[in-house]
């Protein structure tokens, strides 16, 4: 099953299989979400989820704490490398 990801800042639409990691988007469109550690500790993959937050795996407390320390305290901000995809979403990859 494929889910649609709308990139609101570049007006692109991409698709990934169910349960994909969101950072896999970079395999479809190079550099679309910058990342490095893939462990939720470097902060290079912050995104803003504009629609479909419930279609991503839930954030662990440690992700929330880290995002807050980066100045992204609200729920709609996520670390893409920590998100598994379960449905359609719209995201801003340059919050």
């Amino acid at each position: 099953m494929l889910h649609t990801i709308v990139l609101t800042n570049s007006a692109e639409t991409l698709q990934l299989p169910d349960k994909s990691k969101l950072t896999d988007l970079s395999e479809l469109a190079e550099g679309v979400i910058p990342f490095s550690c893939l462990s939720g500790i470097c902060g290079s993959c912050v995104i803003e989820v504009e629609c479909g937050l419930e279609n991503l795996s839930e954030a662990e407390p440690v992700e929330r704490t880290f995002l807050t320390s980066l100045g992204f305290a609200e729920d709609q901000y996520r670390l893409a490398c920590q998100c598994k995809l379960f449905g359609p979403i719209s995201i801003n990859t340059e919050p």
């Binding site: 494929l2 990934l16 299989p17 349960k19 994909s20 896999d24 395999e27 479809l28 893939l38 462990s39």
Partner: protein, 250 residues
């Protein structure tokens, strides 16, 4: 000029794109399903958990011991695999390291149940691995030296897939025979496999190690070879406990 190679610095895209990866995984899962059917039809002594009336306790305990031994032996060679994997794909190495972190002390869960089955830790330490287990570990060494880490990771995919699929039913049977408390370690182990999605995790690593069509073919061949080695183990344990007349497994 840069003579430094084998560092995975390129971080290129995986050979299989996300959709191709899902499709190939389905193909592999279907192949494993066939192997399971074949296994059930041909391998002796795999139905102990259904034998409430003639359950073989010594054989059950020996099986637990061998599982703990196998984990102990494989964690050594699987740790060596990380360095080879990292040369090919740091992404795969990261996933593999997380997986090994999960698995590293799982021998304890089986030893815990083994003690409840009446084998002390001291007695456990005196048990030598079966030849089939030694061959499995040796095969991993051969793979790392001469074919690469794909086969080592493929083994874990096979084991995790089979565990998630078959272990819950097996544990239900064992629970009916032995009681829940006696198999608490195995229940905990099975929960980890399922809740941490170990098959998905290992597939995540495998995906980065498949870099050409030949690797896809090699993966299928590895699954067959592991099946043969695991069948050898069942023949060995069955011969020791003389549960059934055992033909050699082809």
């Amino acid at each position: 000029m840069n003579r430094c190679i084998n560092t995975g610095l390129g971080r290129g895209k995986p050979y299989l794109n996300p959709v191709q990866s899902v499709l190939f995984r389905q193909e592999i899962d279907a192949l494993i399903e066939n192997q399971i059917a074949e296994w059930n039809a041909n391998v002796p002594a795999t139905d102990q958990h259904h034998r409430k009336n003639d359950f073989n306790h010594p054989m059950y305990a020996r099986g637990l011991a061998e599982t703990a031994i196998r984990i102990r032996l494989l964690r050594v060679i699987e740790s060596k695999a990380i360095s080879d994997i990292a040369k090919l794909s740091p992404e795969a190495a990261k996933i593999w390291a997380e997986y090994e972190c999960d698995e590293m002390l799982h021998d304890e869960m089986f030893i815990q149940d083994l003690e409840k089955a009446g084998t002390s830790r001291e007695e456990f330490l005196q048990i030598e691995p079966y030849m089939s287990t030694k061959l499995l570990v040796g095969f991993f060494s051969y793979l790392l030296d001469h074919e690469g880490p794909l086969g080592v990771v493929a083994y874990s995919y096979l084991v995790e897939y089979v565990n998630v699929k078959l272990e819950p039913e097996k544990l239900k049977g064992l629970e009916a025979i032995l009681g829940k408390d006696k198999i608490a370690g195995q229940i905990a182990h099975s929960h980890t496999d399922i809740n941490h999605d170990h098959p998905g995790m290992v597939w995540g690593a495998l995906r980065y190690l498949i870099n050409k069509e030949e690797d896809k073919a090699a993966l299928k061949k590895y699954l067959r070879e592991f099946q043969d080695l695991l069948a050898m183990y069942f023949v060995e344990i069955n011969n020791e406990f003389k549960l059934e007349k055992v033909k050699a497994v082809a």
